[in-house]
Subunit: 378 residues, 4 copies
Amino acid sequence: MLGWEDMINVGMIGYQFMGKAHSHAFKDVAMFFQPRLQPVMKVLCGRTEDRLREAAQLYGWEETETDWQRLVARDDLGLIDIAGPNWLHAPAAIAAAEAGKHILLEKPMATSVEDAERMVAAVERAGVVHMVGFNYRRVPAVGLAKRLINEGALGEVRHFRGTYLQDWLVSPDVPLVWKIRRETAGSGAHGDLNAHQIDLARWLVGEIESVVGMSETFIRERPLPDGSGSGPVDVDDATAFLARFRTGALGTFETTRLAPGRKNYNRFEINGSEGSLVFNFERMNELQFYSTQDPAHARGFRTILATESDHPYISHWWPPGHVIGYEQTFVNEIADLLDCIADGKPAWPDFHDGLANQRVLAAVERSVETGRWEQVSA
Amino acid sequence: MLGWEDMINVGMIGYQFMGKAHSHAFKDVAMFFQPRLQPVMKVLCGRTEDRLREAAQLYGWEETETDWQRLVARDDLGLIDIAGPNWLHAPAAIAAAEAGKHILLEKPMATSVEDAERMVAAVERAGVVHMVGFNYRRVPAVGLAKRLINEGALGEVRHFRGTYLQDWLVSPDVPLVWKIRRETAGSGAHGDLNAHQIDLARWLVGEIESVVGMSETFIRERPLPDGSGSGPVDVDDATAFLARFRTGALGTFETTRLAPGRKNYNRFEINGSEGSLVFNFERMNELQFYSTQDPAHARGFRTILATESDHPYISHWWPPGHVIGYEQTFVNEIADLLDCIADGKPAWPDFHDGLANQRVLAAVERSVETGRWEQVSA
Amino acid sequence: MLGWEDMINVGMIGYQFMGKAHSHAFKDVAMFFQPRLQPVMKVLCGRTEDRLREAAQLYGWEETETDWQRLVARDDLGLIDIAGPNWLHAPAAIAAAEAGKHILLEKPMATSVEDAERMVAAVERAGVVHMVGFNYRRVPAVGLAKRLINEGALGEVRHFRGTYLQDWLVSPDVPLVWKIRRETAGSGAHGDLNAHQIDLARWLVGEIESVVGMSETFIRERPLPDGSGSGPVDVDDATAFLARFRTGALGTFETTRLAPGRKNYNRFEINGSEGSLVFNFERMNELQFYSTQDPAHARGFRTILATESDHPYISHWWPPGHVIGYEQTFVNEIADLLDCIADGKPAWPDFHDGLANQRVLAAVERSVETGRWEQVSA
Amino acid sequence: MLGWEDMINVGMIGYQFMGKAHSHAFKDVAMFFQPRLQPVMKVLCGRTEDRLREAAQLYGWEETETDWQRLVARDDLGLIDIAGPNWLHAPAAIAAAEAGKHILLEKPMATSVEDAERMVAAVERAGVVHMVGFNYRRVPAVGLAKRLINEGALGEVRHFRGTYLQDWLVSPDVPLVWKIRRETAGSGAHGDLNAHQIDLARWLVGEIESVVGMSETFIRERPLPDGSGSGPVDVDDATAFLARFRTGALGTFETTRLAPGRKNYNRFEINGSEGSLVFNFERMNELQFYSTQDPAHARGFRTILATESDHPYISHWWPPGHVIGYEQTFVNEIADLLDCIADGKPAWPDFHDGLANQRVLAAVERSVETGRWEQVSA
């Protein structure tokens, strides 16, 4: 039997989309991964008490808490999972760090570079394990992309071509929820979706040096959620930018929430001197790979079904061809995090990655204002 | 809080591939579905005690039991889930029915029509709820196919074209595990994979009237699992058959476990007088649909990403484009089963479907022997 | 400059679909291939004089002839191209052979095995070059498939899975044209489309030993082309069959003209012990190839764009990625034929292939009547 | 029979890739289109006499000419086709216009905006018909895209996302041919490939107002074609830019010749308020279309096989599903041009389009130098 030394009590802030995804991961992780530290779903934290209680019961949390400051102060918690709205990321993460808790933080890191810097300082001071929830790194096909690049299968990387397209804002009737208000979200598609692309680009290709971007809000007024009329939209529907990597590679990035038919089209293509890779989350179990090392008459993009036991994380799941889904990326992520905490090792991507990401986001925003290339501050 | 009247204790036989998939479903179903009856993972049953205990702890079962007959006799269980090898299906299901338990049974129903008939008689006599685990009916894209057919989007169906291809037996080094021994599995690819295709065909098109088939074992000797030399393979690697449906539609079916690159390629295409549908499990979140009702210049197979809240089961999962995986089909299945038990209504597909399926399987096997068309017995 | 010794006068029977395709090929072949013998488009033959003259002018034939018997008797012709309706194939080919002409014959070979046998005997006696127009062998991607199989890339072939689906008869308003009348066409989809599949299967896998089939006519009455009411359809809309190859491989074949959305979906999949191939004419420039020899973590179906100079015929066409179309298959075919005539070598596929094909077609038809497996006569 | 009044003598400059493609089109156009004016392949012009003669004989030109100035001065020619290297476009087009000839000019228009302006002035003064060979407008699937946009199927267009990727320069061994020297080509991938994308964007979405771009030459030295050592590469391997259309739509463009596996991947995606379109030349017979007007449960990207008689140009070619190839785009183009000349109507795209295109190319190049957004001069 497991003893207490093998367990860690978790407190989580947020019970909506991300709260549900993380709850599921905490519930399932031990079954699939046997992490060296098992999570106990101790406290769920949110503001609206009745909905919070309902969520806690449904998802399997033992207790509830409506004050996040009380939550992070609790002695019995070892890990704080911050899955609430973006504006809360900085204060909650700093408080959690100061309370000596390990931290799992949803992306984007923060709503400003300054906040992100303070957050990094806080976790550094506290010496806790910290991770940012760029979950797409934990898609097996994406992990395979990383492996192939590391093996040299692409040679020298020259192009990163990222697009993250959705269509949930195509209708002007979608109300002004927190994700499309600057005050609560920091930015629109840019911070929400480009942040993911930037993370993948940094992981797979390297640091971005400079950027130039453009941004647009096509639908400038939307109904208020409470039905009391309408209000102006103050975040971007779409943001695109060009980038130069430190390695000399070129990057193009584009995100929009107004691309009919694109539901969660998180796609990248990478071209190197010896091969290419293509990934699209809507077919998340597949990675396309082209190699100039194949015989001349038999070259082509291979559609690798990344469900073999040779592929990252898959040995914990099902036999080949029994594809996995979105939610499994969080199980993979939390399994890794728990092992890091157990071993006292740094998690990845961590707050440093979150800060570097935030700096790219900010440089793009500066560029949108100045109309010229901007350096990504170091 | 839930009271005992809202709960049902489950005993499950088997802890391997299907045992893991079902365990996960019992664990997660309440979180995603709020079924009217909640499962308690009470007893896991298997023969090898140490591996059984390990599985029970990992998957979250409260107790273990090494004798399936003792299991089905326990008073505190309401639902018996039979996820063990095929030879056990008949005795366990009949005993469970006689003990008044509701039953979830993995496919194929049995290893003979006679057994399947006795199983139907037993559940009929007992008046319990019974379901057979043809889980592919619970893929949202497949449910959408059913809806489109019911809506008349295909007009009169004329062709069902089913292939279920895998490649895990391509290597002659794969040992003689229970799935490729007649004694334990009944048949090879035929009962394992054609059974799924037959179920989908019956559900989507209707009853099969007559069949003619062929069968082959390409690799006729394989190593014994215990390393003590090798033994003959007495089941089929591949079985294909032609079929006529009662409606007049034509069917072609083919399965093999020796198709390199096909991992779980459970694919069907249906052509009707007004449209066509294509599904392939390896892209389980997609359904292709062609309609002659579209404008002449804008007709084409639509790739419907079946992840909208309009699609079956999806409202319980994630936002559009956040695709689900194989394991979710079992959660969907068990959610439906629990509601049927709660409501005292028949589940689907049930033992009658399992028996009808078995009759098609058997008619194909007769045809392989006689070399001619065989009627599917009524 | 070319002398007369480098030229061959051609007489062609038929000016409709195939007549147009062949005319184009004769017109273009010298430009792209520099064959050792250049065709002169001498005489076009057909029954309806005004339409014939119009076609001849449009396509670039020097003269016209309304009597095919006079055509084949002309002294100045070296090659007779028979692209008229199926019933004409036997008499025209036999007469042409007896007149000592080389022959290009559209598929299917004939409307009966007996006719096909007489045709083979005639060309053998005459010692002329003979070719049957199974043009899909001349698709570069299909030629690449042949090359990969010859190189052993698939190992031992175990499965051939052919489907040839169209939808032009879905509407009951399509009239009773010659292609859907037994008297003029011999059979329906079977002789028209299965003949192509059988040819590819024989070429790529080997001889077919025995078959069992089914056939259906879904729309049993259609308008007469002249508007004078309607008449019964006496050919098949759809025919499917199972096959055993002499090598031990299994084959499944299916054709229909009632599959909405499938326009010219001539698709095959081949599975061997070490790899698989997939081709679909609607994406005729692509071949999919899976190899078990790739590293375990990087296996997948490669989509080979068969437009490289390494691929069959392509060096005569365009740079990589500048895809070719249907009509080019005929140019490739006629280029090969002209070289064979110039060199006095047998062409391929020839009348022996046509006869072997006809025997498979006939065996399937016998099986449809007897309801059992039938041997393909040798 | 056709009289001389129905014919037009053509003189063409260039006999390499484009020369071959245009020759084929002149040869075949009458057969497929019956244009109101039939081309006579009169004179082929090039500098290297022996290769020129060989090409003329192969392609079917009656005469040859090694001096383009003499060519354009010939009285018997009605149409000059300029398919030689880019540096020749301006002088040849201006001379041809001054000689009163109609002009077909390969893209890009010129190597500078100034040249393009002089060319427009020349054809305007001369009153001749002029066309620029942006042949991708004549792909049936692209014409269908235009039709759908015109019909309002996309609503208000918000995004144009163009990529044109090739890989023929991946190897550093490819020599410094004219296409990668500034003196002869003007620019690299930018003028060659972005020019096509810009043309499609202008046609389908509208005029581009401002741009910001980046450009890179990854392989900076290549062997000289004559084997005498190596030389510096002074054109771009890759150029990407962001764009704002006058309509308010956003555009992203990227081209590279160093994307392994991309052979002629000329792809665009357009998102509007009511639908989306995707095209990729490597599957040139297909257009993907998504409509928000489809029923909520049956929406998806339709793969329209643009081979129906309802689709542009297809009635001149083959039955549905019998796909066409690259070369047919030139036949379509020249058929349209000949009808315009016959009818005395303007052709499209014309020199005004070529000039507008050149201005976008130039603005991007300015932006690469200044590092900021540049207006496209009017």
